[in-house]
Symmetry: C2
Subunit: 170 residues, 2 copies
DNA sequence: TATTGACCTCAAGTTTAGTTGAGGTTTTAT
DNA sequence: ATAAAACCTCAACTAAACTTGAGGTCAATA
């Protein structure tokens, strides 16, 4: 099944070809290059030339992004590969294991949230003090928006919530 | 158990009090107000004064955010309440049902992704053509980053993938 | 050969969700 | 009454992940 003779695959791809094949805009490829996620050789005329393996790399990047990993982290992970060499199956294995773990955590967070939501739809409490939804604190807190209780305990207990802060109170 | 006499809860809260109670920065409250997520009355001296119910509203906003709903959508949802009135239990019920649905979808997406990841760790293929990870296309695609295949079919099938675009090929 | 399409660089703009700061006013506490 | 703490507005800045545009070069084709 060798179609070989026809036009034997050029070793190098132009940025436009990579864009077409990967479904990523040229400008994004430039951007990724600037961010150190991919690299390119240049033609005499200074145009980007990519080895076909860049497609694999991009595939990995896209998958990582889908799992919610920020580009900066993806870049770190990729460049942490010994010598920043081409991706091999074993690299993929290691990376995807990590990302899977991340994904699992995110899923766990969201699932916990959903369950709380489910149980709080009934009660409609939203009590500052009692509602698990208001206390992500003890739960795994999703992407720490950096909002922590500033005052609490004594004051909070005696003053804050009668029924006033609940929805149920209405 | 009425502590009433002590200091009967002032009806209105200052922005600082709301910030302290809700764990949200004053600047963020200003910001939310600018975005139409919350509103305030003003004192003679033009300082913000909130009814205690703002705390509930903020609670709802924060929960929605945790589920990954963008502020603009939260705003829409809140202002779509008939007459933009105070949140009632029934509103909370409706909103949280919607958001729970969103959440479920996100969870489903991520779970699907994780499962694909799991199965692809073994194979390490990442084939442009065959790998489910490369074809979010038919799956629920996570937050459409707006990257669609630009060319396909004929050309893609005959030219693209020999073994070259796979990781397994290594 | 000449034109057109693909590329190049660099700067600036976009969106989301806020934060920071300057310059000035109001409240609260002493 | 006065000083300190809290508040006000408005503009500008941040970060992530890109996109758009201007001004100019390279390469494939008729």
């Amino acid at each position: 099944m060798e179609k070989s003779k026809a036009h034997l695959p050029r070793r190098e791809l132009s940025v436009g070809e990579v864009a077409a094949r990967s479904g990523i805009a040229v400008s994004t490829l430039h951007f990724y290059e600037a961010k150190g996620l991919i690299r390119s050789m240049r033609s005499r005329g200074n145009q980007r030339r990519y080895p076909r393996s860049v497609l694999r790399r991009i595939a990995v990047i896209k998958i990582a992004q889908r799992t919610g990993i920020p580009l900066a982290d993806i870049q770190k992970a990729l460049s942490a590969l010994p010598d920043d060499r081409q991706l091999m199956a074993s690299d993929w294995e290691r990376l995807s294991e990590n990302w899977k773990a991340d994904l699992n955590e995110r899923i766990a967070r969201l699932t916990a949230l959903r369950d709380q939501l489910t149980s709080c739809i009934g009660c409609g409490c939203l009590s500052m003090r009692d509602c698990p939804l208001r206390n992500p604190h003890d739960t795994l807190s999703e992407k720490g928006t950096g909002a922590y209780l500033i005052e609490h305990a004594g004051e909070e207990k005696s003053e804050a919530v009668g029924q006033a802060d609940t929805l149920a109170g209405f």
